[in-house]
């Protein structure tokens, strides 16, 4: 456990400090915010994929649920942003509980079923029949609570909590047990690990994190359509970043987001006309030549990656 604290201090704190100070030096605050958001999402995905091997392809479902949890609380309850953030978390958690039976599926089946579930949530929320509740396909405007500086700060706090959670998972007995499940569910079960309970907890934590990310995204961006909140690229980006960095570590997804999302933006800004092509080629090369992520470069040489 002490190692967890040390890892948090050495890895997470400098990152958090840098992100807290960055707006003073760099004025595209939204880009910084998106970095924070993807850091949260990548770590949330890490909690379920890295530690149990379930790849939630429809991870954006929780994100969207969080965004709409936030929006509905603001629109209908006139909630303060912080209360609405709580609603975002609750919305994602409820969705997580509803989708828990999906954990009975494995591999691609789980990934596809999870994707279908995210699509289903999107189709319900964007349906014109629910216009009075969700504004249906017409999108929401939350300008009454728009507060970019405050929501930036809240996003940082969520990131800090998420990183702390991952540092704990990585070093606590609970996290080790989860990884044992990932490697070999049958013998882990025989070793007395409460397989089902363990992975359910990881699943719900992961959902909660995505929901909070969605909530703070809704708050920060304030005008959006259901297509925005349920954009599949949130899932895909989070997955690609996590895998590129190396799942089941704290540092891996951080590096993944900083390098790949950084590169994504550099390409998007410098060579817009070949943006998609370059990014596609990059992803293919990464999977082929670095399938276990950046962290594996170190672990293969016998170093422990925090």
């Amino acid at each position: 456990m002490r190692r967890g604290v040390r890892e948090f201090v050495t890895v997470a704190l400098p990152l958090l400090a840098a992100l807290a100070l960055a707006p003073l030096f760099y004025s595209n605050e939204l880009l910084l915010f998106n970095f924070i958001m993807f850091l949260i999402l990548a770590q949330g995905l890490n909690a379920i994929y890295g530690f149990t091997g379930y790849l939630p392809f429809g991870y954006v479902g929780f994100f969207g649920a969080g965004a709409y949890g936030f929006a509905l609380a603001v629109m209908h309850l006139n909630a303060s942003p912080l209360l609405a953030m709580a609603c975002a978390g609750v919305a994602a958690l409820v969705l997580g509980v509803v989708l828990t039976p999906l954990l009975r599926l494995s591999g691609a089946y789980f990934a596809i079923a999870n994707l279908a579930a995210a699509q289903a949530v999107y189709q319900v929320i964007s349906n014109p029949a629910l216009q009075d509740v969700t504004k249906g396909p017409y999108g929401v405007t939350l300008s009454s609570v728009f507060a970019p500086a405050l929501s930036y700060g809240v996003a940082l706090i969520i990131l800090a909590a998420t990183l702390a959670l991952i540092a704990w998972l990585r070093n606590a007995r609970f996290g080790l047990a989860l990884q044992a499940i990932r490697e070999d569910p049958v013998s882990a079960a025989m070793a007395g690990v409460a397989v089902v309970r363990g992975r359910t907890i990881a699943w719900l934590l992961s959902a909660l994190i995505a929901g909070l990310a969605g909530g703070v995204f809704a708050w920060h961006i304030s005008v959006f359509y259901p297509e925005t909140a349920f954009d599949l690229s949130f899932s895909i980006f989070a997955i690609v970043f996590t895998l590129f960095g190396g799942a089941a570590t704290q540092l891996g997804p951080i590096l993944g987001v900083l390098l790949l999302y950084g590169l994504y933006n550099v390409i998007g800004i410098t060579v817009p006309q070949y943006f998609q092509l370059i990014y596609g080629v990059l992803i293919v090369l990464l999977v082929l030549f670095l399938p276990d992520g950046l962290a594996s470069l170190a672990t293969r040489r016998g170093f422990r990656v925090p």
Binding site: N28, L31, N127, P128, P137, Y138, G139, F146, F224, I269
Partner: protein
């Protein structure tokens, strides 16, 4: 507190701008729109000749225009023509030495910085911010397609940057408390269908066609239009009866069963409101189904005419009603090229690009024209002056798509598109007969043709 004061001031400025006539009366004559507006192209040339004050203090080397487009993804087919139309305008201006910028009293070259958001709203948001905070653009233009436009609205507002919105018609963008936006080329969704419902309630009903079916795609653009049509048709005293009213997901690509269902409701008039892909699939399925309705209206035959013609064919379009945009109804422009000239330039520049000429291409070009006039009329590049300048054009600027006119929230209410009916022309061409409003009509509607 400070913010509230600013908002109040802006609201006042907004009202002042919107009531152009009143505002002009109270200003000295030389500051009036007319002073910089009337045929500014010619004037700019003469100014050039008659020694423009070189080396105006503080004149920038270029005017930076920030823009977003989507080269891929679901919004690419709307966004790319707008982008290329705008690009064409920028290139033409630069070929002529740049655009006249009033505060510096001379022409300055334009630099278009257009990022690709790949139809991804999150990326569009970051790139909007990039344009404002890093590229420090002088003028900011949003992407087309309401989903992508939406994310730029609060960012522009937060940075007090005036947002030129070419075609993002979402009614929610335009509110009295946000002075930092104006819709340039498309009419806002709530007013766009006005001629349609008027036509249905007058001429069409008089011809005995009173049973109307509405089938719309459930997105902001077509859903809003459906809602305003519905409201108008249900208004007290309406002679029209809605017998079928359903939404379908925008991704719907097959309408055969829906057409069968509509036929079962036995309507006289079928309104199908969707995006390009929806209209193509609907009209193809309608033709293949062998079903006949006395009047069929869809949006895109008049908006992306050549795409529709290529995909649906002459026989599939014959008899269909649609909006008549500038593609088929020429307005004499006071500024910029005529339709024929623009179309010629487009074909020359983009024949091989795979992006069809259509309304959105024109919308991009008109966005450029508005930009140009704005620069020619603005007192400074301060964004509220830019806004004032844009609003001062309202009701006066006449381009190839008609008169540019904004309501006080910045939504486009001029440039209303009349209703027309398609007739075959030649071997595989078509032409529109304008049937409503009467003042513009060039012929009578023929019901029962489809």
């Amino acid at each position: 507190m400070l913010r509230r004061v600013v908002v109040c001031l802006l609201a006042i400025a907004c009202m002042a701008g919107a009531r152009g006539a009143w505002a002009q009366q109270s200003r000295p004559a030389d500051e009036r729109l007319g002073g910089c507006f009337d045929g500014y192209l010619d004037k700019a040339q003469t100014e050039q000749a008659s020694a423009p004050q070189p080396g105006q203090p503080g004149a920038p080397a270029e005017i930076r225009i920030g823009h977003l487009h989507a080269s891929s993804g679901p919004y690419a087919s709307i966004s790319m023509p707008v982008y290329l139309g705008l690009k064409l305008w920028v290139e033409q201006m630069n070929a002529g030495g740049g655009a006249m910028v009033k505060p510096f009293g001379r022409k300055l070259p334009l630099r278009l910085i257009s990022y690709d958001d790949q139809s991804n709203p999150g990326t569009a948001a970051t790139l909007t911010n990039q344009l404002i905070t890093q590229d420090k653009v002088d003028l900011l233009i949003a992407d087309s397609g309401s989903v992508l436009t939406a994310v730029s609205v609060p960012i522009a507002r937060e940075h007090k940057m005036f947002l030129f919105d070419p075609t993002g018609t979402g009614a929610a963008f335009f509110s009295k408390d946000n002075p930092y936006i104006a819709l340039l080329a498309d009419p806002v969704s709530t007013v766009w269908p006005r001629f349609l419902w008027e036509f249905l309630k007058s001429d069409v009903a008089a011809a005995g066609l009173t049973r109307v079916a509405i089938l719309y795609s459930t997105n902001d653009f077509t859903g809003t239009q459906a809602a305003s049509i519905r409201a108008a048709l249900k208004a007290p005293g309406s002679p029209v009866q809605i017998v079928f009213d359903q939404g379908v997901p925008t991704s719907t690509s097959n309408y055969a069963v829906l057409i069968d269902n509509i036929a079962a409701a036995n309507p006289d008039v079928v309104l199908e409101l969707g995006y390009v892909g929806n209209d193509i699939a609907f009209l193809r399925n309608l033709q293949e189904s062998g079903k006949n309705f006395r009047m069929v209206f869809t949006l895109y035959p008049g908006i992306e005419t050549s795409t529709l013609l290529k995909n649906v064919g002459q026989s599939g379009l014959a008899g269909v009603f649609s909006y008549v945009t500038a593609l088929a109804y020429s307005y004499p422009p006071e500024v910029g090229m005529t339709l024929e000239q623009f179309r010629g330039s487009w074909e020359k520049a983009y024949a091989k690009s795979g992006v069809e000429f259509g309304w959105n291409a024109i919308a991009g070009y008109v966005t450029g024209l508005v930009l140009g006039q704005t620069l020619a009329c603005t007192d400074s590049l301060a964004q509220l002056d830019v806004r004032k300048s844009v609003f001062s054009l309202s009701g006066k600027l006449k381009t190839l798509i008609g008169t540019f006119e904004l309501n006080e929230q910045g939504a486009q209410i001029g440039e209303l598109t009349p209703i027309g009916q398609i007739a075959p022309e030649g071997k595989d061409g078509i032409h529109f007969t304008v049937v409503y409003p009467p003042a513009m009509a060039s012929g009578k509607p023929i019901f029962g043709a489809k």
